[in-house]
Structures are given as C-alpha cells and as structure tokens.
Amino acid sequence: MDNLHGLTEQEYETIKSLIGREPNDIELGIFGVLWSEHCSYKSSKPLLKRFPTEGPYVVQGPGENAGVIELEDVFVAFKIESHNHPSFIDPFNGAATGVGGIIRDIMSMGARPIALLDSLRFGDINQSKRITKGVVKGISHYGNCIGIPTVGGETFFDECYNKNPLVNVFCIGIMPKNKIYKARATKAGQLLFLIGSSTGRDGIHGATMASSQFDEKALKRRSNVQIGDPFYGKKLLEAIMYMVDKDLPVGIQDLGAGGIAGACFEIAYKSNMGVDINLDEVPLRENDMNAYEILLSESQERMLIVIEKENLQELINIANKFHLSWCVLGETTTSDTVNIYFKGEKVASLDYKIVAEGVPSCYTQPSKTFSPSMEKFIPEKMEPKDLFMKLISNPNIASKEHIYTQYDFEVGTNTVLGPSSDAAVLRIKWPLRPDVKSEQGIAIKADGNAYYMEADPYEGARWTVSECVRNLACVGAKALAFSDCLNFGNPRREDVAIKMELCVNGMADAMKEFSIPVISGNVSLYNETVEGSTITNVMPTPVIVGVGLLEDVHKHMDHRFKKPSSLFLIGNLNQEYTLNGSLVQKILTGSVKGTLTKVDIEKEKLLVELVVKLIKEDLILSAHDVSMGGLITNIFESLVDTNLGASISLYIDEDPIVFLFSENPTRIVVSVEQELEEQFKNIVEQTPLDWMLIGSITNERNFTIEYNGRELIRCDLETAKHIWKNSLKDFF
C-alpha cells in the first residue's frame, strides 16, 4: 500500500480540516479502511438510494449486517456479499473467507444460518484452472466443515473475468420472531466483548485492496488476503447461538472489513455513543504486533458483543465452554470520540461521526448515456442441431455437477430442492427451538446474466430481475425481497460508470414495478485489471438473489419431466423474439450487443401468479423458465436426467433458430397430464397470457423437433447427455 493508506490527496486534506490537525499514522490507517469504497460506498451511495427498500414483509432493510423479512412463524435474515479481489490473489482462502464472512453477518442478526448460495464468474475456462479449482475447493472447505449447506448458485464463464473473477456468496438464516440483534450499545458503561479467534497479521488492509484495480503486482498482495478456519467458525457460531438463546447480548457486530477498528466505529456511530478501546488484552497469534496491525487486522472468526457489565462472567464462561479466546476490548462512553489505548498511551482519538460521515462523495452522474444498437442479430444459415450441440457443451450450459457435488448441499436436512433446480427450496425448522418451525417454505435463487446487461444495460437489468422472480415461481414461490451485489469495473471510467448507472436504474425500476424491495446487499467496484496499455473491465454484473415464500413447503415443483404428458409454453408469447444478448450471439460472434425486447412486467407478474397457482392446484407436472440457451436448452434440461423423450412440433411464422434459441423473458415451459389439459387451458385463458402446445413427452428416449411439419432436429439423448455432463469434468 502507498503511504496514504489508500486515501487520495484530496481525502487527506479533508481529514486534516475535519479533525483540525495532522492525523497520526494509526488514524490515517483507520480512515484508509473506513473511507475505502468497500466500507464507505462513496461512489455508489446515490445509486443505492434508487432501490425500493420497503414492503409489507420487511422488518429490517439495508444498513444492518443483513436484511430481515417476516414470515408467518419466523423471521428470515439474508444477505449477499462479494469476495472478488481476494479470490483472484488466493482463490482458496479468498473464497473460503467470503463464505465465513457472510455467515457471520447472518449470525450478527441473531439468526441461525441455514443455507448458502454462491454466484461465481470465471474467465475463459481453459485459462482459469488455478482460480476455478481453488474457489470451488475454498467454498467446499468452509461451507462443508461449518455445516451450512451450499444449496445452489450459478457459475458463468467469460474472458472478461480472466483476472477479475467474481465470487459472491449469499447466506440465509432463521430466527424466532421479534428477536433481532443489531450493532448497538444502548447506554454508556456497557462492555465490548471480543470473542473468537486470536488476531494475526493476515488481511491487513484487505478492504482497501478490494477497493482498487489490479496491476501486474496483484499476485504479490497475498498478505492482504485473510485465512479462514471453519472449525473455529463452527465453534464461534455455536457460542453466538448459545448466548442469543439466553438473550445475553445487547448488540452484536462481526469483525470484517477494517477489523477491530471497523467494528468499533460501526457500533459507536450506530449507537451514537463514544467508545474507549484498550488493545493490550487482545489475544494475538503473532508476537510484537503493533497497535496499527492489531486494529486493522482482518483475521477471521471474531465477533464483538456488546454486553451489560453484570453478564461478563457468563460471557467468559461461554467463551471457555466453546474454547474461544476473548477479551474485554472496551467500554461505551458518553463522549463523541472513539479513543484507542495501547501500552498506556492514547494512540488514536477520532470523532466517530467524522469517520462515518466525512468521506467526500466520489459519485458524479455520467454526462453521457449509452444506446445499444438497434440492429437485430440474425445468424448465418446453419444447422440447428450443430448449434444445439455447441450450446450443450458450452461451459455456461454444461452440467455444473462437477462443482456442486463438491458442496455438502444437504447438511441441516432442510434442503427440499437443491442445486440444478430453478430455485432452491428450504423447509424451516430448528430442532432445538420448537418455536422456530413452519409449514411455509423458503425459495432462494441468484441471477445475473451479464450478457444481457452488457448488450443493453437498462433493459438487461429488467430482464435479470424478471428472470429471478420467474425462477422462484417455477418452484412454487412468490418473491418477497431481494439482496443484491453490484459488481462493476472501475467507476472512474466513463463507459463503466454509464453502464452502472443504467443497470441500477433498470434494476430499481423493475423492482418497483414488481413491488419487491431490496433489503441488503453489497457493492464491488474496481473489478479492473491494467497491464501496460491493456485495460480490462468486467462486464456489468450485478447479481440479485430473490427470496420467495411457499405457502406450503410440501407443494413445491421442479423442472424435470415426470411421465408422458403434453408440453406447453405459457406466458407472453406475442413479443418480438431476439438473439441480441444471447449465448448464441456470444458463441457465434464473440460478443454481445444490440437492444433487448422490452419485458412487459405486468404480464410477468401475471405469469408468476399463474404458475404458482397451477402448482398449488396440482395442474402441472413440471415448470422451467426459458432463459440462457433458449427454449431448446430449457426442454433439454428438463429431459436429460429422466428416462423420457420429447417430440416437439412447432407451427409458427417465426424463424426457427430465433424461436428456439432466443432468451426472451416471460415464458415458462410446463408439462401437463392429458386429462388435465382442458382445465389447465381454462385457467390460462382467464388471464391475458398465451399458451402454445409445443409437443409431448414420451417414453421413447429421443429428442426431435419439427418445424411446420418438417423435421428440424433429431438428437440422440444419451450422446447429448454425455457431452452435457462431462464438458466441465476436468476443470474442477
């Protein structure tokens, strides 16, 4: 790091004038971390204000360690976070500590974490083995050992992520109603009790590192990466749950970015109360650590608990019971300063409001905008079957089982639907707490197709939100709230800033149209690599996770065909089909561009309601939304792991390639038993939506597609299955 601790000259001047003196080295280090992009959102705050954050289920919106919604019997806490920069430098530890960090965020709310999702973006698969293997092993190592299932996610490959992989991890937890903990003290004289692992030199200035672009020296920043220990994490988790069950904490804050400094300033600011901190007793794992290192270390598996003095002995007993180290780190005061003492000296003294609020905004609204070209991509004449075979071997479509079978997706015995589903479905129970139990179910799904947002940022973002809501509906769930992770390149570059602006507007507008709020999230900027004169920024890749509700967890649906039946496409079928922004465009031309068809969100809302109703009334056997790879991929995915076949006959005016491979939204494929067809059609016809009979599911293991009476594709399913299943085999 440079001698300004990641701060700019201008920020340094601002600090001097705000505190009325030269800051010392330790104070500068504190500003360096807490004014980093990662901690302060200085380039994105005005954008985040555009998202809707309120709604009927929301108990806690953005601003705390996680957002919380209310279901009939329980509260549910969730959040997504990124660990992008560390995962390039040290893929295993970067990804592992990403998992550990988000789990602690959920614990901080007093919730028991019950599931993880991961949303991964890797570079060209042939150049990324070090990263892909390391990241998957890191997630597997941490999640499996701590005993929280990784129930789903998405993995996407594109060369723009070669040196800037994206590792976003989402965690969800459950808790009894009306028992939320926050990062708060309530009065002066309360103690800050540090519990967990000892403090070492790992991860110092991790947050600052995560807020700048990479250059040729990126891999030398290994000491900025934290090291995780899931066994310690598990002990800490059980200790926190134990003290929460006894209602001992006044407030809870995990130690993440900025370590002890970050956590103490957070508590001071949110409680509007000063804090006196003494670093002398902090358990250390290395000798001769100085105050700067102790304050800013991002060593993992540590939490700060605000307690009443009279509960100290009980907290010490808990720490000892779970073999965790601890110390009394400090005490709340009536002043407006955070004072830090080390070896009898006051080493730093800062007004917490200045630290929390003083950072100058770096946001400037772009003066230009970006208009995608109106040109429609039409591929040169080619055999549809060749194109289909290209798709199923493409890493973005091929089976991800080589990844997810390395994750324990069933521990906790709440996984009703796991990886490879349209969305994961969880039941709600906590065996030691009979009050934390429900017949309702939770569905979770991560989405963020960067090709849509690269081609047409505003509309692509609307497609992404729609896709997430539609995915949840396909398992029988109504979307209630989102968590988002805004991954972009360097916002100082105008083209990046413009697309970021458009994406956020598109997401925010779509969420408002759906009336579904964002209640937690994270921003990761500077996903950029500069090597000599080559500058590479990631495509705009906001990832959203939708959390949905199943009124009855037993009434869930999956995408697999079950038996011979009729196959219908339902939704908004009368729209302009396009291959712009599609995987086919990327495969055939090497890039994605052009406008996307405007998604009719009113119709999308009707479609998701319709599908949830069809599932509830047992009128369909399967449901799967049309998205990446188009209709043909959709049918193949529902077919491949069964013993059935599909005979598709299309009678349409549309070009068959466009119709089969287009990724246009607001469409779901459902299979229906013949005797229920009339009833099914009647229900669809009560809405302004369309249905189209596209073929039948048969006992013959074949996949054929006819177009206006002539055979277009005949595919041997076992060969296709082999290709689809094994394309990623050697990369994980």
């Binding site: 005993g147 779970f322 079978t405 994750y407 069933e410 521990v411 967890v553």
Partner: protein, 218 residues
Amino acid sequence: MKIGICVFPGSNCDYDTYYIVKDILQEDAELIDYTSKDLDRFDAVILPGGFSFGDYLRPGALASKTPLAEAIVNFASKGRYVLGICNGFQILTELKLLPGALLPNENDKFICKRVNLSVENISTAFTRKIEDKEVITLPIAHHDGRFYAPQDILEEIEANNQVVFRYQGENPNGSLNAIAGICNKSGNVVGMMPHPERISEDILGGLDGLKIWHSLIA
C-alpha cells in the same frame, strides 16, 4: 428407547440426527457433550457426521481422545448399540472399535450425492428390518470415505460377514471391496459413510433411511 447423540466440537449432523430420533421417530433423544463420561442411561448412542475438531490431524483422530470416546468404548464392550455415521464411522475406526481406516476419496474431492447400497448383513441392530441384499439409496457427503484395510484384515472382515453395506453399481470413493459400512464381530457396533438421517422424510425426497432407524427401535 433412550438414544444419545454424541456432540464433539465440529460435529455438524448432530442436530439432524437428534431431529430424526426425537421428532420423526418420537423416541427419547439426548445430545451428549464430548466431556461426558457416563452413558449408562442410554440404550444406544449415535456418533453423527461432521468435522469433529476440524478434521485436524486426521478425521476422527482427536475426537477419539476425548472422555466421551472412552465412555463409548466402555458402552460398546457391554454389547450396547453404537452407530457411527460418516465422521462417526471415522471415529469408531480411530477407536479400533471397528477395523480398517477411511482414507481420502480416490479423486481427492468432497463428494455429495446419492448412492445405491446393497445391504449385506441383516443381523445387526441397525439392519434387522431390511431384506437381505436389498438395494437402498442413501446420500453420501464426505472427503475421506475410502475404506481401507490390509489384505488379511479385509479377508477376515469378509469371512466374518462384517460388511454391512456395499456400494452397488458405482463405487464413489474407491473403497476396497466397495465397502460403505461395517460392523464389529459381535454386530452391536456399526459404522457407515452414508447418511440415513438425510433421507428419512418424504419432503427430503426419500424414506430409505427410515429402514435403519426402524431396525434400531424395533
């Protein structure tokens, strides 16, 4: 029946097993802390899956040095029922209550999937309600599940009919003789890599695990 579930630091299938015994089987269940020394009140104890002591040193190695482990050895010597699942199986081999060892999977990866098993010994307390050679489907989730024993021990295990479960079809981890679970000579101690507690409810997509639980409480 009073069934104890052993909790070591790092166990993570303890609550899942507790839930099955208490809520699904409606039997008397109790979590037992690893510092406990007395198991007299139990009819059976289960060592659940997880990563006891973070798998440090070797899976199961540190758990086998705890007071509770000593009590389990004592409990088993009285002929009472002991079931080790996954990490529990690893602990039982470390304790020498069961022969052999569980080594890292052949592909050196964690594997989470459902597998088919043939039930090869139906005289144990955990398999007595299952048909001989019946094929059941249970989930596995482990990194160190490759059963190994020296040739002479392996022959002895086979000769004594100590193989309880054998992978049917695919051998997922490279276990010798496709062994997924074994018992001791007297049959009161059983260790298995697959997780019956994960597939004992309709909502989780299968009921084959119940066959093991119903054998126990029959």
